[in-house]
């Protein structure tokens, strides 16, 4: 019997779907598979990309401000008619500090997109252990700020991240090369003439052999002293809330401060291009899967209109309007899409959980974080219903425009 809260169109639509249940099940299965694929691929790609970006950006800043490069200017002679042929050689790039870096840092921190702006004094040096030496890159930091960019606490394999004036953190490869451990002393010298004996308080692994071999961390003022940069910094490292918006933020920083700011998107252009290409391919696949779902629904409803044409004629004869007939078929399209998409979301979620269980790194940890975003499922359901309604429109219009006399006569 009819539910009093269900409108006429819904009653007829539901009953037509139930009557042709095999047809209904098949088309819903098709929709479910399509939506399941879309959900699975979207969540998988998002998880992999997030993981990849996290790994890449966990060891570097999103934006780096650098002092301007040295440029040569040709000295011209008088204003006579003689022409000069000059060869202008590019100058050596000396270690320079960012002018007024404290006020620049404050200006950057005031931007709503910025999370952290951390000063860094960096440069080349030599580390000596007995008769052995290695070239290194000094990174002088303020730990309370810098650790919010690169969380060295998570990367420490031995010791701590304590960095007072005489402390140093070294990479696991450098420690292995020189036979060093926590508590050992290390002599660091620079081309500027600075020299210092520092105590190893921690050994880190940043996941990159080159970085683990060359990079060392020390307190900012220790690095400034070694590099001959009293009170100066060679870069400002910045993290932003939206990593994909880093390039735009960098351009705004440059415009506001006059200092060149490079985002990870620019410096890792190839990596970013690969991510973009992956996203584009995924979008194309989702579009065509969605299109095939739409055509599936439309083709089934075209068949239903033909099957039900006599009944549509009778309904029209008994006073049912064209608008009501149109809505009966639109509701069918929407319900097929909604039902199929609901099952599809469950299939997609199940596939993700299974993939997450089986796809593991060599050390047994998951390949990527499993994030079942409710927003993804909500958007998938909404888009599916919209697709179903659009797909149903042409068959619904055809049903509404059937001539009752012709339809009844068959």
């Amino acid at each position: 019997m009819f539910e009093p809260w269900l409108p006429f169109e819904w009653i007829v639509a539901l009953r037509f779907l139930r009557e042709g249940r095999l047809q209904t099940v098949f088309i819903m299965a098709g929709v479910a598979i399509g939506v399941g694929v879309i959900v699975f691929m979207s969540a998988l790609l998002a998880g992999l990309q997030t993981n990849f970006i996290r790994r890449v950006l966990s060891a570097q800043a999103h934006i780096q401000l650098l002092p301007p490069k040295e440029v040569s200017r040709a000295l011209r002679g008088g204003s006579g008619p003689e022409l000069e042929a000059a060869t202008v050689q590019p100058p050596l790039q000396r270690l320079k500090s960012i002018d007024q870096w404290q006020s620049v840092a404050e200006q950057i921190r005031a931007m709503s997109e910025v999370i952290v702006a951390s000063p860094v004094a960096g440069g080349s040096a030599l580390v000596l252990r007995g008769s052995t030496s290695r070239s290194i890159s000094i990174i002088g930091i303020q730990p309370d700020l810098y650790f919010r960019i690169v969380n060295l606490d998570e990367k420490i394999v031995r010791g701590t991240t304590r960095l007072t004036g005489s402390d140093i953190l070294i990479g696991i490869e450098l420690a292995s090369d020189l036979g060093l451990d926590v508590g050992d002393k290390l002599r660091v010298t620079t081309a500027h003439g600075g020299a210092s004996a520092l105590t190893i308080t921690g050994i880190f692994d940043l996941g990159n052999k080159g970085v683990n071999t060359r990079s060392v961390f020390m307190a900012l003022h220790t690095a400034q002293s070694l590099l001959g940069l009293p009170g100066g910094v060679t870069s400002l490292d910045v993290t932003v809330r939206d990593v994909y918006a880093a390039e735009g933020v960098a351009q705004r920083i440059t415009a506001a401060t006059g200092i060149e700011a490079e985002s990870w998107i620019k410096t890792s252009a190839q990596f970013f291009a690969a991510i973009s290409a992956q996203t584009t391919a995924n979008t194309a696949i989702r579009f065509f899967v969605g299109l095939s779902v739409a055509f599936g629904i439309a083709s089934v409803l075209v068949v239903v209109v033909v099957q039900k044409s006599r009944e549509i004629g009778i309904l029209r004869a008994m006073g049912i309007s064209q608008g009501q007939i149109l809505r009966v078929f639109l509701v069918q399209g929407g319900l097929l899409a909604l039902g199929g998409a609901t099952v599809g979301c469950a299939i997609g979620a199940g596939a993700l959980v299974m993939w997450h269980s089986y796809a593991r790194n060599a050390d047994g940890t998951p390949l990527f974080p499993l994030v079942l975003d409710v927003k993804l499922f909500a958007v998938a359901l909404m888009l599916a219903v919209l697709t179903g309604l659009l797909a149903a429109f042409a068959p619904a219009l055809r049903a509404a425009r059937l001539d009752p006399v012709v339809a009844i006569r068959g």
């Binding site: 019997m1 009819f2 539910e3 009093p4 809260w5 269900l6 409108p7 006429f8 009653i11 007829v12 009953r15 037509f16 139930r18 009557e19 006599r310 009944e311 004629g313 009778i314 309904l315 029209r316 004869a317 008994m318 006073g319 049912i320 309007s321 064209q322 009501q324 009752p404 006399v405 009844i408």
Partner: protein
């Protein structure tokens, strides 16, 4: 109740294959009339019924139903008038197989009101009872015999208490006994409620039991 003046109907009008089916029909039906419509196949009986039933429009002439001129009404208004004032019974019952007997009878009321209610159900049950199918009211339409299905179709046609009932060979597919039952039902509603009935039939015996007979021959009418 029904008035046709100078009604012509042509198919493919204005083309080389134009076919005129009705030629200048003048016809008047009064409230309570019970008329048989007879004529050879292809004479235009069904076309006449479709025009009176507002399922089709005449090529020329005027059609008034229940006092309302219909020739210039738009489709929505025609549909509404048809739903409230005219009931149809066809040769093939044309019940909606997805619904039960009772639900089929409720369908015109549900379509008009938009939502179901208890009054609708009660009226449908009363009509189902009056056609002798109370025990089968919850059977799906496809699970009834031909005669039973036709009785449900009659009940459905009367659901909105129409002033006019158009029956296009409703007994054409039934055995003699069922045909008599169906005819008797329609006759009863005509007598009890004053419903005007146009009853298309090839059966002279049934036609003789009507109040008058309209002959349709080659698209022309003689009463």
């Amino acid at each position: 109740m029904v008035s046709l003046r100078g009604v012509f109907k042509a198919y493919n009008a204005g083309t080389p294959i134009e076919t005129e089916v009705l030629h200048g029909i003048d016809l008047t039906l009064l409230r309570g009339d019970f008329c048989a419509v007879m004529g050879p196949s292809g004479s235009g009986k069904s076309t006449l019924l479709n025009i009176i039933g507002l399922l089709d429009r005449p090529t020329a002439g005027s059609v008034a139903v229940c006092g309302e001129q219909t020739t210039r009404l738009e489709d929505r208004a025609l549909t509404r008038l048809r739903g409230h004032s005219i009931g149809f019974v066809f040769q093939y019952h044309h019940l909606i197989t997805a619904f039960s007997a009772l639900e089929n009878v409720m369908m015109p009321m549900l379509g008009a009101a938009g939502f179901a209610n208890e009054a609708m159900r009660a009226r449908a049950a009363e009509l189902i009872d009056s056609v002798g199918l109370r025990e089968r009211q919850h059977n799906l339409a496809g699970n009834l015999s031909g005669g039973q299905q036709q009785r449900v179709a009659i009940a459905r046609a009367l659901a909105m208490n129409p002033a006019l009932l158009l029956a296009d060979e409703p007994t054409g597919n039934l055995d003699t006994h069922s045909a008599d039952e169906v005819f008797a039902l329609i006759r009863r509603f005509n007598q009890e409620h004053g419903t005007t009935v146009l009853f298309v039939t090839h059966n002279p015996a049934l036609a003789a039991r009507c109040d008058k007979t309209i002959q349709v021959i080659d698209g022309r009418v003689s009463a």
